[in-house]
């Protein structure tokens, strides 16, 4: 039986540069996985390829999610199937408030599913509960998406979007970078609140303390040169903490 998410021998390139080089990984429903690895090992590429970013070309391998061939779907179809990416550097959308953005996103999903648009009351309720839980103020919801926010605020808003859209599979691309201690807690809190037997997470991070204290993963993978070179539990964190990635990189080259 295949897992909830099954990545098999995935190969991808950006331009002429091959970045993913036969990556295999499987995640079951309800699991939280962490991916670590040195810069350039393909962590961010993996998250972009899973979401269908047209900037990357898949040259081989397969990805199935909830039994569907993910690679056949376009970006928005994957999103509507439940794949969510919390961006490392979220882009600005001037003039569009976060509240409007979420309304469009939710309604686009409902429209695609043949459902009626959300009514204003239902939407306001949904937004209010989640904003409070994640410490997102009304003022932040009114301001244009990602315009003029600090790094930490942007990440908090990524977590907020995740809570609004209730995806089945959440990819968090370096959520903890550029955040102060409190913001890291909010991000971790988001994962804690969202954790459920029907939802899995793939968390990309360098921050061992953050992973240990906030994420508490089921499994840890180390990535080097575009493939997974080590799988394990939290004990892998200790090894990385002590020796860095040097040993893993050697393994990948050999």
């Amino acid at each position: 039986m295949t897992a909830w998410l099954e990545i098999n021998d995935l190969r991808a390139k950006a331009g002429d540069k091959t970045i993913l080089n036969g990556l295999s990984l499987s995640i079951d429903a309800g699991e939280v996985h962490v991916i670590m690895g040195p810069n350039g090992s393909g962590k961010s590429t993996l998250s972009n390829v899973l979401c269908g970013n047209p900037h990357y070309e898949v040259t081989g391998g397969s990805v199935t999610f909830k039994g569907e061939d993910l690679l056949k779907l376009n970006v928005e179809e994957r999103a509507r199937l439940g794949v969510f990416l919390a961006f490392q550097s979220p882009v600005e959308i001037p003039g569009v408030s976060m509240a409007t953005f979420m309304k469009y996103a939710l309604n686009a999903r409902r429209k695609a599913a043949g459902e009626k648009e959300l009514d204003a009351v239902g939407f306001m309720k949904r937004i209010k509960v989640r904003a409070q839980a994640l410490n997102v103020s009304d003022e932040m919801l009114k301001r244009p998406v990602n315009v003029g926010f600090s790094g930490g605020e942007k990440k908090r808003l990524e977590t907020f979007q995740m809570a609004m859209l209730e995806p089945d599979f959440c990819i968090l691309d370096e959520m903890d970078s550029g955040m102060d201690v409190d913001a890291v807690k909010v991000a971790g809190n988001g994962v804690k609140i969202m954790r459920s037997p029907e939802r899995s997470f793939l968390v990309i991070s360098h921050n061992i303390k953050f992973i240990r204290e906030q994420i508490m993963p089921d499994k840890v993978h180390v990535l080097a040169n575009g493939r997974v070179v080590a799988d394990g539990g939290v004990e892998l964190l200790d090894e990385v903490d002590k020796n860095g990635f040097a040993g893993f990189v050697k393994e990948a080259v050999a």
Partner: protein
Amino acid sequence: MTQDKVSALEAVSDTYHYGFETDIDAETAPKGLNEDIIRYISAKKNEPEWLLDFRLKAYRHWLTMTEPRWAKVEYPPIDYQDIYYYAAPKTDKKTEIDPELMKTYEKLGVPLHEREVLAGVAVDAVFDSVSVATTFRDRLAKQGIIFSSISEAVQNHPDLVKKYLGSVVPYTDNFFACLNSAVFTDGTFVYIPKGVRCPMELSTYFRINAKKSGQFERTMIIADDNSYVSYLEGCTAPQRDENQLHAAIVEIIVMNDAEVKYSTVQNWYPGDKDGKGGIYNFVTKRGLCRGVNSKLSWTQVETGSAVTWKYPSCVLMGDNSVGEFYSVAITNNYQQADTGTKMIHLGKNTSSTIVSKGISAGKSQNTYRGLVKMGKNAENARNFSQCDSLLIGSQCGAHTLPCMLSSNPTASVEHEATTSKISDEQLFYCRQRGLNAEESVSLIVNGFCKDVMQKLPMEFAVEATRLVAVTLEGSVG
């Protein structure tokens, strides 16, 4: 036209939703332009001698003029003898509106039966050359507001029309304004008396229907001392392979402490995706802020027309008068727009604001052209201009041509301009949240135009937002 034919036409025209034709008898003058045609139009409208003289003077002057070619638009020469200058829907009884016409306006969403009107919008509808219905007139008349077709105003209020006709846009102003002065057929006339705040939005809906016909309407708005009016203008035309000419004039006079807000959603047929057909929209709109503390605000959302040539302007004559211009111009496929404004500061402490948002997609060309002029007596006059361009794709063009002339050292002029592109990263971000590519573009564009959109009256803002999406259909691969 039968209902079947209407829906069949709609099925083929999936991007331009107003491209149907109404099958009604039209009374047309012979094709072409000469003094006899002008006399014919004037006689049809039972006009007084002075108005015929005005038309003939304009026509004779027009013969000496040449068509302006300085705008950044290209189109083949117009054969002015191949146009019908008068086309009126024929009706059996003068008092009844043709049911086919009613159907057309229902399709356009214009409510003509007052009883059916829920929103407080009074409508004057101009179909080809003739104003067919003016709703709410009686209610407005109780407050002394005149809201009628200009033809009726000529009959019922000749002194007012005579006093102000051509006072803001003289017939010598430019080639198209001169042509309009000679052949204008109908339009809307609004007079708001002293101290009256017009209780509802006034609205005109223009529609070109007849083949090979031009539309030359003329709108006059006079806001007397301490009055206020908000006026909306909407336009559509059937989908045709040929190009049709629309050369209108809008003249606005704003007296002491009065305010006029003029909003346009222009959705003339833009031509097909290969650039065939569409309206040539060559329009002169100008307002004179004559009184002290007067205010005129232009808000326009331009999505239609094959070629647009239009510069709604304010002449700020009264001290402390205020002029505003908020514009969104969207071009796609082969559309060309050369649009902007003129702010002429004559009085002391006059101020003006220009916010222009140009969006180009497809192979279109979109130009902002503006003039800010500070006269020698414009002590402490201020202007702020912001011109932003957004490009979608790599085959379109955006151009910004601001001109600033100051003859008064105490006047200040500020200009900001930006050009940006919808980035792949923005599209990916929106699509990752579940919006498809077109929904993403429409969201980003609406965000880009937000400052202008929120100036529109509520009922127009909804339509404008929807039009943005329709206009940009097919603009992303």
